[in-house]
């Protein structure tokens, strides 16, 4: 069965390469065009309220989350259905992460962290649909996520611990002479957190999608030999599926780590 599929795919690729090759003879690779923000209903001007492809794919993410978590669990089965199993799995996964990484008292932040995770993971996977728009590939989006996390955690820290929260930067276990230097490093690393969160997520997703597009451009230019880049795309796509989940996981677990700092600032 797999072998048959392989030959059919190969034949399709060869035929399509022969038929369509002349039109795309030039090497026309525009890997970044897929990230362009466009107004949905025409017009070049993109105001803050204009419904754009960002809006469309974010709303699709909301829809997917609704279908998975709300409709999936609608039966409330003691023995879960498939969708309900996934919903329970996601719930248990994030709940346990919050509890284990950030501590038991962090459980009240669980809905916020679940929101973050579900948005990122859903947007990443929706972005893997061919011809789709990946909202998490934009620094504006991941930057807002990172800044929201950063601000929320800083405020939480100061509300819970007041000035003592600054003890996070004062490494009391180090020799006294080293402490100011360490404090400087700690402060810098604290403020780099949102930047790294933002760039890690958007950078990974953007790079992966751009590479896929570059291979696709090769496939268009190589004619009959295009099966090579298409196989490369298949392999890379599998990697991107992994990255889509791992980046959401990394973003969430780092949020939990930072939240733990805010709840228990002592070293």
């Amino acid at each position: 069965m797999g072998k048959l599929f392989f030959y059919v795919a190969l034949a399709l690729v060869l035929v399509s390469g022969l038929v369509f090759a002349p039109e795309h003879a030039g090497l026309a690779i525009h890997p970044m065009d897929q990230f362009t923000v466009k107004a949905l209903f025409g017009g070049d001007h993109v105001a803050w309220y204009t419904p754009t492809n960002v809006t469309l794919w974010m709303f699709l993410a909301i829809g997917a989350i609704f279908v998975l978590l709300v409709m999936g669990s609608a039966n409330r089965g003691i023995v879960p259905s498939r969708a309900q199993s996934i919903a329970e799995l996601a719930y248990g996964f994030i709940y346990k992460m919050v509890e284990d990484v950030a501590g038991k008292d962090a459980v009240k932040f669980f809905p916020y962290i679940m929101t973050l995770f579900m948005f990122i993971v859903t947007a990443n996977f929706l972005g893997l649909i061919p011809m789709s728009f990946t909202t998490t590939s934009h620094f504006a989006v991941t930057g807002v996520l990172a800044v929201v996390v950063f601000v929320a955690i800083t405020i939480t820290g100061f509300v819970l611990h007041g000035v003592k929260f600054l003890g996070l930067f004062w490494v009391s276990s180090a020799p006294l002479a080293l402490r100011p230097i360490l404090a400087l490093i700690e402060v810098i690393s604290y403020f780099v957190r949102p930047v790294s969160l933002c760039i890690r997520l958007a950078g990974n997703i953007m790079a992966g999608h751009a590479v896929l597009k570059v291979f696709a451009g090769f496939a268009g230019a190589l004619g009959a030999a295009s099966f090579l880049p298409i196989f490369a795309i298949s392999a890379f796509y599998a990697l991107e599926v992994l990255v889509a989940f791992i980046q959401a996981y990394v973003f969430t677990i780092l949020t939990c780590v930072y939240l733990k700092d805010a709840l228990h600032p002592s070293h």
Binding site: D33, T52, P80
Partner: protein
């Protein structure tokens, strides 16, 4: 993708549009750094996050938590019920054993009681029989003593008659008093 939609066949207007598009986005190279769309993205992101948060915190998370709790509760209840039934089974077995032991003890008690009753009846019967035997023995002895006494008297009578007849036959004088005294002396001796 954009280049596909602006194919040459679509005419000059499209070509001009494509050029404008390229001028707007192509110059920076990365749409990610096109700050004119940031307001739009941030606005829709905030809307999305709020909507997802509301869906999760109002509906999805409480429901899933309830489902998980219910399952945990069901499992715990089932285990408790099983434990309960097991305890009941053990209790029933104990009750059965106790009933068995009670019955055995009762049976032994009844047997012992019956044995004692029978023993008592037998003893009574034996005592009664002994008493009757003793009474009959005493009666018999009285009768024997009477008979013996009668026999002695008869012996005396016979002896004195015989003695007086002998005395008469020998020609002596029948002295009744003397003979009686002699007979009494002999029979007493």
């Amino acid at each position: 993708m954009a280049s596909n939609t602006h194919d040459a066949g679509h005419g000059a207007a499209d070509a001009a549009h494509g050029a404008a598009d390229a001028a707007a986005h192509g110059s920076s190279g990365m749409p990610q750094l096109d700050f004119s769309t940031y307001g739009n993205q941030i606005w829709w992101l905030l809307v999305t996050l709020v909507v997802i948060y509301l869906i999760l915190s109002r509906v999805a998370l409480p429901r899933i938590a309830a489902i998980l709790n219910e399952r945990q509760g069901t499992i715990t209840n089932d285990l408790a019920a099983a434990e309960d039934l097991k305890a009941k089974a053990v209790e029933a077995e104990n009750a059965y054993n106790k009933a068995l032991a009670d019955a055995r003890a009762e049976a032994q008690r009844i047997a012992a009681e019956t044995r004692a009753e029978i023993q008592a009846e037998v003893d009574e019967a034996i005592a009664k029989a002994d008493a009757e035997i003793a009474a009959k023995t005493a009666e018999s002895e009285t009768a024997i003593a009477e008979i013996r006494a009668t026999a002695l008297d008869n012996v005396k009578l016979v002896a004195s008659d015989t003695a007086s007849a002998l005395v008469e036959a020998l020609g002596g004088k029948d002295d009744t008093k003397l003979i009686a005294a002699a007979v009494a002396e002999r029979t007493e001796g």
